[in-house]
Symmetry: C2
Subunit: 277 residues, 2 copies
């Protein structure tokens, strides 16, 4: 029996996806997790009724949150991922031969289990020898981490309202900076320019005092609010983008390639105005 999954954002815009089956539903310690099969985008995971990922468009998000940083750092030996419990981010990271260690810190172990049970195209790296999975609070995990212990930290969080709120503060960014090496890079998802410009302005006002370099890059993601998403590229020093060849990894990607890497940093006028570039 077909039904429609509906997500309403800020009580003003909505996304609907026709489903063929509801496969799973559980209230975890942190949030309600649901899994559906949809006609347009394959399998769908939602958290508290909001799209976390779909099988058919997650590639854009996960390729962009990983390869832009991995190919912009000369020696990304150790990586920390905060969030990312669906597994897509670590799936992309393990493609890079120069990455030796990946710590994944997801607060909700049930999200990881749902990926293992229902998302075969996302869950391929949880048992990879480079990957260490920690079910823990990201803020506490970083607070305990040694200074200068990661070349790249990726903040693969939910939105800055509710459980993810603490991952968007200047205090948190300052602690991320502490655990980054001198030439370290932080990538953070920074929401949807068309529909939460106010929020984006605040996020970047918290990033700029902390990092020497703060840039934004963007990509289309159909099942996220407004279909257009942004990430911050932050570094402790001025950094050249794309320091290594994207050729090998681009053979494995559906969205990312070298031209896209460069183009993603070209910002529309209205986006530049939001973050005062």
């Amino acid at each position: 029996m077909s039904e429609w999954f509906e997500e309403r954002y800020r009580d003003r815009i909505g996304l609907s996806l026709k489903t063929t089956e509801k496969l799973f539903s559980k209230q975890s310690s942190f949030q309600k997790i649901d899994v559906y099969d949809t006609i347009a985008y394959g399998r769908l995971m939602t958290l508290d009724g909001m799209v976390m990922c779909t099988e058919k468009d997650e590639f854009v998000y996960h390729e962009m949150i990983t390869h832009v940083a991995a190919l912009s750092h000369p020696e990304p030996h150790s990586i920390l991922v905060i969030g990312g419990g669906d597994g897509g981010t670590i799936r992309e990271l393990v493609k890079h031969g120069d990455i030796a260690r990946i710590d994944l810190c997801e607060i909700d172990g049930d999200v990881i289990q749902v990926s293992k049970d229902y998302f075969p195209t996302l869950n391929t790296a949880f048992d990879h020898p480079k990957v260490n999975v920690h079910v823990d609070d990201g803020i506490a995990f970083i607070a305990r981490a040694q200074p200068k212990s990661y070349q790249i930290v990726i903040i693969d969080s939910s939105e800055p309202i509710g459980p993810g709120e603490g991952l968007f503060t200047e205090a948190f960014y300052t602690d991320v900076k502490r655990v980054l090496t001198d030439n370290g890079i932080m990538i953070a998802q920074t929401e949807a320019p068309f529909v939460c410009g106010d929020m984006i302005g605040r996020i970047y006002s918290h990033l700029r005092p902390v990092f020497a370099q703060v840039k934004m890059f963007t990509a289309p993601i159909p099942t996220y609010p407004s279909g257009y998403w942004s990430w911050a590229f932050c570094s402790k020093q001025q950094t050249d983008f794309l320091q290594k060849s994207a050729e090998t990894v681009s053979k494995t990607t559906s969205y990312y390639n070298e031209a896209i890497h460069q183009a993603a940093f070209a910002l529309p006028n209205f986006v530049k105005a939001l973050i005062e570039v």
Copy 2:
């Protein structure tokens, strides 16, 4: 009283916009035209229940369908727009001092009237001295046009199902080529890569035999299906993109600028595969 406008696309994905008022509804000779006020995107015009434009995101579509071509042609004296009855395309074109004449050929005069009555931010150029409005069938208009009479032809059409179907055929493109000058450019909207890849493959297979150069460029448009749109850039000769400075026009735009102009031609791997680049 608030209600939700809902558009369902191919019975698998949907967009919802919370409305504050329905302002207009009419069955024209060609389609049903409705106008609403929405909270997220301002005023909305729909044709047969599908979003044609909203006040708050139309700028992306209209800036990209015009300035990319206008700044890639050395002397765009005469321009023909097929469709474009909401007025947004001609509003952008009249910004270019080197454009002397714009013919707008819209099949449905009621669309133009609705723009004049309800869309003050779109309807500003209908009475511009450079603009000549023709309420006519685009295929017939081009069939009557003189050879080599336009430097740029812009196909600002609805989708290739229903009334717009004839605007996506090889026969039509061949007639467009006939009315273009030797260094002429055709721009056509070519649908949504995430959700109608099959259709896009067919469109480009009709374009390639006709034009010496066929490129695609893309941009995010929140209220169109999947939020990510494409256009074809076609020319009778090999052409350099961006032959003139984008500086002046970029002071008037919200999406377009020189970096965006270049970046829009960087295509994701899955899009390149659709059109066999």
